[in-house]
Symmetry: C2
Amino acid sequence: MRAVLVSLALALAACIPVWAQTADDSRPATSNLPGAEYPRIHSDLRVTFRVHAPGARKVQVVPGGNDNGLGKGPFDMTRDEKGFWAVTIPPAVPGFHYYWLSVDGFPCNDPSTFTYFGWNKESSGIEVPDRTLDFYDARDVPHGDVRSRWYYSKTTAAWRRVYVYTPPDYDRKRKARYPVLYLQHGSGESERSWSAQGRVNFILDNLIAARGAQPMIIVMENGMVAARPGGSASPPPGAAPPRRNEAFPDVVINDLIPMIDANYRTIPDRTHRAIAGLSMGAGQALQIGLSNLDHFAHIGSFSGGGIRNFDLQTSYGGVFRDAASFNRRVPVFWFGAGTAEAARMTSVKAAVEAMTRAGINAVWFEAPGTSHEWETWRKCLADFAPRLFGKPSRASRRRTATGSKG
Amino acid sequence: MRAVLVSLALALAACIPVWAQTADDSRPATSNLPGAEYPRIHSDLRVTFRVHAPGARKVQVVPGGNDNGLGKGPFDMTRDEKGFWAVTIPPAVPGFHYYWLSVDGFPCNDPSTFTYFGWNKESSGIEVPDRTLDFYDARDVPHGDVRSRWYYSKTTAAWRRVYVYTPPDYDRKRKARYPVLYLQHGSGESERSWSAQGRVNFILDNLIAARGAQPMIIVMENGMVAARPGGSASPPPGAAPPRRNEAFPDVVINDLIPMIDANYRTIPDRTHRAIAGLSMGAGQALQIGLSNLDHFAHIGSFSGGGIRNFDLQTSYGGVFRDAASFNRRVPVFWFGAGTAEAARMTSVKAAVEAMTRAGINAVWFEAPGTSHEWETWRKCLADFAPRLFGKPSRASRRRTATGSKG
């Protein structure tokens, strides 16, 4: 058997990531596969990418996204005599960034990184460290579970997978019930994104341990939901599929919330239920939340788009018309964005300012220096979650003497 | 915001999977990304792959693995005038198969599929249906959760992630305690593999619903554990990193089992604890199980390697010397493999035969027609799990009147 495995390892030599040694101050990114030496991050946050592609004529690093966190790109890589292609890019913005390689024009992933669901596919990603922050790190505090669960959706007539964060004490306090935050990803992402790219579990573990937020359940579903499976005509070859999410509100209200309340120890009322999301998910949170105030009392928009033709009297069914009533019904009405995406946020900021002038208690939060990217949304969550469901009580204080790090 | 998203979609058009229409009887593989039309599986199980790579000179499909389930390959794809490359391969073996593309010699993933951790990296995969089987499908039965949990390992001085399947009734029966199966992946795979490639949750959900197996917790860790982080010298450029797993037994015994018993409602004794694994993990299950019979009473080897120089008197510390004693201590001692990997299994089969002749109650199971691949290991699990922890009791019978599919 060992001989078989060795021969397989040799046969696969062409298919595995690239490892090599360097002599500078750079270190492998924490997002790399175990043992993968590239990409490497230098102390000044320059990043060196390197891949082995001896048969290619042109290889580039293509930063993915909206955020310019890795610079504009694409970055041409240079080939050495052994067929390794490498490039060092200028200092990157701390946080998580999508990227791809282009090999003779073909977009593909860097085989040295884990993949993250974004841009409607499995994508390479890199974590650029911010040494001034540790709020999303795995720290020595009690940790919750992130559960994946399958449930049947009558709306879509299909089985669906949802991710559910349960807080550290959930399994120990067998009679305790918890409030719930429904938390959505952006366009082209999935139910996996908030835990993988967003580090939702570490952010909440750390907040809860510091008594900075109430222990809560967080439900993360896939917001890209077509009304009927296969219901859309195929787009032309090479074109993106249409963004389909028209069925998501029905999934949330008719399928997801009843399933969660039936299977987890929730406090199943509106004052203990929040909804938030980022980018496309922010639009969904506003739409679903404001249209279902019998279900939700707290709403968060992270880097959400503009509210089209915002009008205090008519938008969202006139829900903002009576500010005092709205403030009573919606104790947390929260908007956030990164300062580096300010141009995209003009219309939403104007809407929030109009609400504020009219007496609506809307919060506006800015993450300094970041754009339409996960670092902004991690910071949004870290500001938003502590405002939900009241102050943490003594009962939920950090247990410090359990002796268990699990 | 919509304008931003549309412009992003256009900018990303070169980076997304390929969709197109076909007129034959083929269907997109269930393992494809939502909306991705290729790869497609024909009614006779031929598979058509198709990608858009107008700038490439040579594109191939490279079957991944040991199993020949997709044929020997690599398969040259043919370019059309629009830059789409396609190939239809002969009928494939039902089950899950790894594969890659080679684009001008660069090994990369098919952007139309989800990725699966195998061969030490994120790999493309395809699910070829077996219409005669549904034991690993998501069926209309109560479903358990698969939880990911972070815990601190003193052995490795690092935080580690483990996946834990909890059976359907776990959250409802708040005082019930459950037996535990520790279940390991193969070389180059990870803690994700048994749930993604192996469908462990559906297999157990279905068995438990049919009263074919005891409700149990299943713990899936990453068996590729070096003794010290960064402890190995970097291999030469382009070479695979050394397979490091020498610290795994210490992680299991000293870190993992205590954490699981402290945090989940286990029955924390040897008779309610089993260990099994596939390929490399089978070797680990035998080594860890037989060396720690104070911890484990049941052991399973799925497509395990040979037991080197097997000797009834001396192997594994002489544990087989007294057959009657061994049979009392190890009620389930189970070996399985696929018939199509028989050549690899000669030595382990010989060892099992020698044990049997000596009076050891070892089970030998063969999965018909499959090789060193996940279809074999799904079938192994479906035969092994029902033998563990006694007959299902009335208390665990399927609830049929709850009205909940969740």
